[in-house]
Amino acid sequence: MIPMLATYDASSVNAALLTSALLFCIGLVGFLSRRNMIVMFLCTELMFQGAALALIAFGRVHGNVDGQTFVIFILTIAAAEAALALGLVVLLYRRRETLDSEAWSELKEC
């Protein structure tokens, strides 16, 4: 079916791309549907995982390591986000004594 021979392991790349698509979308489902704020942030980490996997898979296709260096920056942002977001969650928890994000639903204006 494919006329030319790939210079990379096509099955690993395809599996990684499919996994990345699924991880991103499952993370999105979790972020939209879970009510617990900590689990919502855990789901954004899932989406980060999906993005990192896609970067590395495409970097493997092109035979360079730029994708891997981008993943280092993803790790940096994920660490910064975890520190800040979890600090915010603790602050919000102290105010309302619940982790339910619906507790803050009066923030929507209508």
Binding site: A10, S11, D66, Q68, T69, D100
Partner: protein
Amino acid sequence: MVEDGRLEDRSRVFRRGASCEFNGPALHSPLRLRCVLGPPTSVGAAKGNIDTSGSSPLDYLMDQSAPSDLISSSHCMLALVAIASAGLVLLMRPGARALRLAGSVLALAGVAGLFVEVLKLASGGQGVPPIFPVIFGVTAVAGAARVVTHPRPVFAAIYFILVVVASASLFLLLEAEFMAFALIIVYAGAILVTYMFVLMLAQQSPLDGESASNWYDRVPREAVSCVIIAFVMVATLTQVLFSPNEEARRVASSQRTALQAESDQWDALEGLPEQLKAIVRERLELTRTEPIEFVATDAHTRVRSDGDKHFVIASVQGKDLRVELSSADLPVNAQLVGTTLVKDYPASIEVAGVILTMALFGAVVLARKQVELNEDERRELAGLSRLSVEPEAGANR
């Protein structure tokens, strides 16, 4: 006759449209294009910028050379994504255990079928698909589904570690060893510990007589519509990423960049002069018995190539010697990542450092306990005398 001619004409127009849209290599048959377009669902609508009015069902018959299994592969993937989504919906519903079991079976079957289908595409339909990518991929996706559906946040965090380990294994399969271990150390080791601490700080202990988890962890919000959004996204992504057209374009692009990738690796070795000198010294000591006074200047540690051989000109006791290098001398993954990071993205490292510092400050500011002080206490802290004469009045104010 006239009808035939018009069909022929339309088909040509369609062909031209196809080659405009996909100026990749070779594969421009209308059949393949329709495979990219997929079935007439929201996925097809998402790619509606391609003019499909020129295509009629007769085009199938006119192009006899194209294999007919392409269409079924694309449809099959869509059906499997739908099955997996249905399973996920059942998994997210609280309540009946049998339904959740059926959901997990459905989701697992859908995801595993999807992986096998995608790997069949990679191998061109021949041979048995390799087992490790399937195992790690299915493990990662199953763990992710459990993160999303588990009613207890601590268990969700532990399943997230499973996802991290499985995707690190996929990184290993993709020859990204450094990032695989960095991912485990940073995610599973550092970020997840932070999550665990916050869970312990913020989790309410359930009262006696209640179930082990809070109600808001058991009841999802708008599960069905969320999964529909995800279904549309996954369907679009699989149609776009795993069409044979795109597969062939990836292969062609990798071949175009293969030479460049190799010369980049030799350049990276040049960027590690001490290691290059060590390699040259080792080679020279293998062949010569007398002590070597190895002189290398910048000009002499340059990797040159003639055809497919790479070599270094080393200056030994006044004479220039040619030392051949093999591909085993190329820098390993961690060295490549490091040299690329500092050579190509130095400004990004600075920005990342600034972001980390600001996150540190932000976390400290957020976590600090805020105590309300009245005017008198503030003045006292500043070393000034109290304003109010009577303490009772100050307390009432």
